[in-house]
Amino acid sequence: MKTVYVDNNATTQIADEVREAMIPFLTDLWGNPSSMHTFGGQTKKYIETAREQVAALIGAADPQEITFTSCGSESNNLAIRGGAEAMDKPPHVITSKVEHAAVSGPCHYLEDRGLRLTKIDVDAKGRLDVETLQREVKAGKSLTSIMWANNETGVIFPVGLIGEMVHEFGGIFHTDAVQAVGKIPMNVSELPIDMLSLSGHKIHAPKGVGALYIRRGTKVKPLVLGGHQERGRRAGTENVPYLVGLGLACELAGKKMNEENTRVKAMRDRLEAGILKSCPGSRVNGDPAGRLPNTTNISFDYIEGEAILLMLDDKGICASTGSACASGSLEPSHVLRAMQVAGMSVHGSIRFSLSTYNTEEDVDAVLTELPKVVKRLRELSPFV
């Protein structure tokens, strides 16, 4: 059975080119970049090339503004905990109600230590309540962390506008761009963004590597101490093969940006329209007008997400759900709940997220199998 992978916001396939580029650093070039000898020291230049490739994808003015980390979560922790600690007095921490746990976790950590935390609402389409944010940023210097695009709905936030508001009152603005990088064009040097997190495995590099953009002049206290690496911002011998992989993945993402926003977007749109047409009682969650090109989140009335996923899984189709039953807790998606999506629709929500590796056949496979699954589960439901 062929695997139809439409869960690319969870993780992505490693690009062949990326894997090939990494192999020399897992075989012959295994030296330590900090060594004085040529054998080790020669690897340093590959790290710097990777740094340039990452900087180029997001439009950083200087590659030195890129700090490599082990993952997107570490980048978020470094930005939020390290950023707050480096400010001259404890900031007002501002975030949204729909962040990934890797952002809300460190924000709550700061709150537990006595900092004021404000979480901004979203509307029914998942768009940020910018007016409330405008009021909140005025109350003292803030460390504001708001995602660029939401992982569950794909809704894009106006980071330029948010950054301006934060800066007007002397605050620092961090954005978790893990889902946005590589999917939409960006140029951080021209935007009021102080820090930006990105992750390798969302853009066809392996898991276990990420980066934090730290604008020149922004102060961050390191979380990992004990070494000079990454200019003292993150100690630890560099993970050379993974950094090389991340660098190349960024370069490839830049080259495929156009395809992502044309071919992938067209497949997403066809998939979405096809589902809405073939499955009555289904609707899109999020803002169709302001979304990532690859993501659609759809709720199905009267049936539950885990059951849908497992039946799709039987057909080799990989997607994800905001249902509580699939998460290990009883709490359904905090994103959909913040959007005031009705309980039934939260429990019956499915996210499909595509990449350039998907084909029209993948879309056809979902459109063939999903309506059968929905019909079958509705036959079991007491509410139909």
Binding site: E304, A307, L310, C325, L330, G343, H347, L380, S381, P382
Partner: protein
């Protein structure tokens, strides 16, 4: 990914007895769309009073569907009196076990059975009356439900309670209350004879306050690296000193009123006032 048994997978993918019975002898529905799962159970009896037909309709995850399917298999051929004896554990066992977090699916099966039997006996629709005080607002679980769950299933931790009846699995606001309920119920002694007729002696009061601090307050403070010392009890004024992370913490005055005083008011006397000695 859940580690479902083969039996769960089998009953989910090919459920037995799915569907409706027109003019059922007994019919009961529990759960709701908002809660994320619901089960409607219907049965018919033969001339000898045995369940000859059983059907279900379920909105829910794989284990909810499998539990429903299993339940219908289990009650077929049984008399009402026999069926009534089926517990949620019997349903889970029939399926070769359920993941811990999915035990509430088997509880839903048991409740639907109760509802259908009630309907058979009374002709009325079983409507789960809110009996007692709602403790978990996310899932509408009352103190009576919790008492029953804890007593009947030997529940010792909040996690087990959540797995059993969902209480505490939503926003988490009721977790401290659930914790103290479980502690109280598991340490339960026969009801006090005097029933509050005589006021406590000062010594009794001090012992009681120390006990409440030890049992209910200290564990919560210790989680945050803090602690609390009882300095004096003067009538209804209780003097305490914060230690560890709590001393010098800016929010300790809130902790004092919201946590320490509230707990002592609940447990000892409404007149208690707590003062912090710095």
């Amino acid at each position: 990914m859940w580690d479902y048994t083969d039996k769960v997978n089998e009953h989910f993918r090919n459920p037995h007895n799915a569907g409706k019975i027109e003019n059922a002898d007994g019919e009961g529905q529990v759960g709701s769309l908002a809660c994320g799962d619901a089960l409607k159970l219907m049965f018919k009896l033969d001339d000898e009073g045995r369940i000859s037909e059983a059907k279900f309709q379920t909105f829910g995850c794989a284990s909810a569907i499998a539990s429903s399917s299993a339940l219908t298999d289990m009650i077929l051929g049984k008399t009402i009196e026999e069926a009534e004896k089926i517990t949620n554990k019997d349903i889970a066992d029939y399926l070769g076990g359920l993941p811990k977090q999915k035990v509430h699916c088997s509880v839903m099966g048991r409740e639907a059975l109760e509802a259908a039997i009630y309907n058979y006996r009374t002709g009325k629709t079983w409507d789960k009356e809110i009996d007692g005080e709602v403790i978990c607002h996310c899932f509408g679980v009352t103190d009576k439900d919790i008492e029953k769950a804890v007593r009947e299933n030997d529940i010792k931790t909040v996690e087990d309670l959540t797995d059993h009846c969902k209480a505490g699995g939503g926003c988490g606001n009721c977790l401290p209350e659930l914790e103290s309920m479980i502690q109280r119920l598991s340490a339960e002694e026969p009801a006090a004879e005097e029933d509050g007729a005589r006021p406590m002696t000062n010594l009794q009061k001090i012992h009681f306050i120390e006990d409440v601090i030890d049992r209910e307050i200290r564990p919560a403070l210790r989680q945050d690296g803090g602690d609390l010392e009882l300095i004096d009890v003067d009538g209804d004024t209780v003097k305490v000193r914060f230690r560890g992370a709590c001393s010098g913490c800016v929010v300790s005055s809130i902790t004092l009123k919201d946590v320490v005083e509230a707990r002592l008011k609940d447990n000892v006397s409404q007149d208690i006032v707590v003062e912090e000695i710095k």
